[in-house]
Amino acid sequence: MSLTSAHSVVAPSAVSKRIAGTIIVLYALISIVPLLWIFATSFKTPPDSIAYPPKILFQPSLEGYCNLFSTRTRQTPEYINALGPATGVCDETVRKRNMVIAGPSNFMPRFVNSLIIAFGSTFCAVFLGTLSAYGFSRFKVPLADDLLFFILSTRMMPPIAVAIPIYLMYRELGLSDTALGMILLYTAVNVSLAVWLLKGFIDEIPREYEEAAMIDGYTRLQAFWRTVLPQATTGIAATAIFCLIFAWNEYAFAALLTSGSAQTAPPFIPTIIGEGGQDWPAVAAGTTIFLVPILVFTILLRKQLLRGITFGAVRK
């Protein structure tokens, strides 16, 4: 961002700065409350989570996390007393509710699915995107503008509209509810973003470097590999993170095209229920674990954020 932004010969007065600062800080604090509430709820017990008035101070508990990772069955107090000493924090917490842990829940496998699908599709999208972006950036491709627009326009379709024929196609090909099917789909969605972003990044690398390398005896491919790629690493990394965030957060395709073995975390988390309704501490725990990686990425990406969210239309 540019260095000059005090929009008057006289810089903003101290008073106006203070007022602006106060409003922004207030907005930031209010807008972050829902997220803090998710975090707080994940450490509440189910009765505390539905107390009225909502509890701001409470005794922290790991029950939400225990419930998230386990399935439980109700037992009689006699049965529980007859068991040996509790084997861990979760065991102890669960027994207080007259229950015993029956086994692991589906959360871990769903989380792992999310990881595999997000990383797999990101790798493919960035790989294809880098090649195409280099092609569009350096060579005279006939109808380049039309092709680029075509690539972008695939992004304008409502996901449900795409999902109908994809659902039928995957059913025919046996790709329904498979990680491979989801990786292919997310790659196709993300590649448009990757091409547009990376073209911008590669356009900024002076052609002279490759030309010099080629005069020096490198082939075009070697020049691409040895001079362009190393200089595009920041751009590639930023693009990868944007693709990763999209694939990680995606819900519509995942909800419609996966149901079991390839289901990702977003369609799974809302289905976490306890006895008598939604188990909010467990949902909050799942949500917290799911959101933390994105928080980290957002902080890493802060400087490239603008470029990423506008498909490279706004650079600095």
């Binding site: 961002m1 929009h7 006289v10 509209a161 795409v162 790659t187």
Partner: protein, 322 residues
């Protein structure tokens, strides 16, 4: 220039000194540039053709049939334009379009107003502005589905934090604030969550717009003794306008397609008060299994987004050229 850059320059000098007849040398070394270009671009195009364009054509074909995906063995009949005619005469579809319009209009209006104001305030560069900007940006990076799902909890009439806060401020009993169950409040419940999530997006783009305005224009205005008010309306706003319009374009397309957050927050309910177009599409396609009918609706939606976006981009380019 970096060290690598300097070495590169030296190499260039060496290379030129050697003075190879270049085009010939390149041919000998392997694939031509055109070949390489296609080699690099075609995988992407092939993937998009397979996963986006082929299904699109399939959907166009299905939209002229009575196909139902839950009865794959039934004979598929060509019904011509019957699906399209029925959609245009379907009361429910028009109600869904109105719901979508309400959602898109209010979210964009609120996000633009609040987002621009925030950007304008942040541009004052008070102490700590970078930190607070990052905090404000967080909601838009999160999964709309997962966060939308959690908002159901915040909206709960008695135990939810939102209802509690509203009753705390207004004095209305918290039990009466059923954001998701009240027919007149539900359409606003999705507007509020979307505005909460995406105002930072508009803010970030507006901020880039404000920072792109060159200082000297303000200096000139100051020399001409233009008031701050006048400077805002004649310099700040017009010069930031292309950026604001870009943000509106992106949000407009996204919210027209809106599915995930609304599906988890209200599921289209109560009744069909928050049933935006994508929810109707999902209900028709994956609950009623009217595949042909819903394909026709999908095509209409796609053409609408595409057409509106194109008209809008033309307008945007005009504003930019001014």
């Amino acid at each position: 220039m970096t060290e690598a850059g300097l070495t590169m320059l030296n190499r260039t000098a060496d290379g030129v000194a050697r003075a190879t007849p270049e085009p010939l040398a390149r041919k000998v070394r392997g694939i031509s540039d055109t070949g390489l270009a296609w080699l690099f671009i075609s995988p992407t195009i092939m993937l998009l053709l397979a996963i986006n364009i082929f299904p699109l054509f399939w959907a166009i074909y299905l939209s002229f049939t009575n196909y139902r995906a839950n009865r794959p063995n039934e004979v598929v009949r060509n019904v011509g334009l019957a699906n399209y005619k029925r959609i245009l005469g379907d009361q429910d579809i028009w109600i869904a379009m109105q719901t979508t319009a309400h959602f898109v209009f209010w979210t964009i209006l609120l996000q633009t107003l609040i987002g621009f104001t925030l950007a304008w305030l942040i541009d004052r560069k008070f102490r700590g502005h970078a930190f607070w900007t990052t905090i404000i940006l967080v909601p838009m990076m999160l999964s709309p589905a997962v966060v939308g799902n959690f908002w159901r909890f915040l909206y709960e009439p008695q135990i939810g934090l939102f209802a509690y806060a509203i009753s705390f401020v207004t004095g209305i009993p918290a039990t009466q604030i059923g954001m998701l169950s009240n027919v007149s409040l539900a359409p606003w419940s999705i507007v509020i969550v979307d505005t909460w999530m995406w105002t930072p997006y508009v803010m970030l783009i507006c901020l880039a717009g404000l920072r792109s305005i060159p200082e000297y224009i303000y200096e000139a205005a100051e020399v001409d003794r233009a008031s701050n008010w006048r400077q805002f309306w004649s310099i700040t706003l017009p010069m930031a306008l292309p950026f604001i319009m870009l943000a509106v374009l992106f949000r407009g397309i996204e919210n027209f397609k809106m599915f995930d957050m609304v599906n988890l927050l209200t599921g289209g309910g109560p009744g069909s008060t928050t049933e935006v177009a994508s929810i109707t599409l999902k209900r028709q396609a994956f609950e009623s299994w009217r595949t042909g009918y819903s394909s026709a609706f999908a095509i209409i939606l796609f053409v609408a987004v595409f057409g509106l976006a194109n008209i809008y981009v033309k307008a945007l380019n005009k504003v930019k050229q001014r």
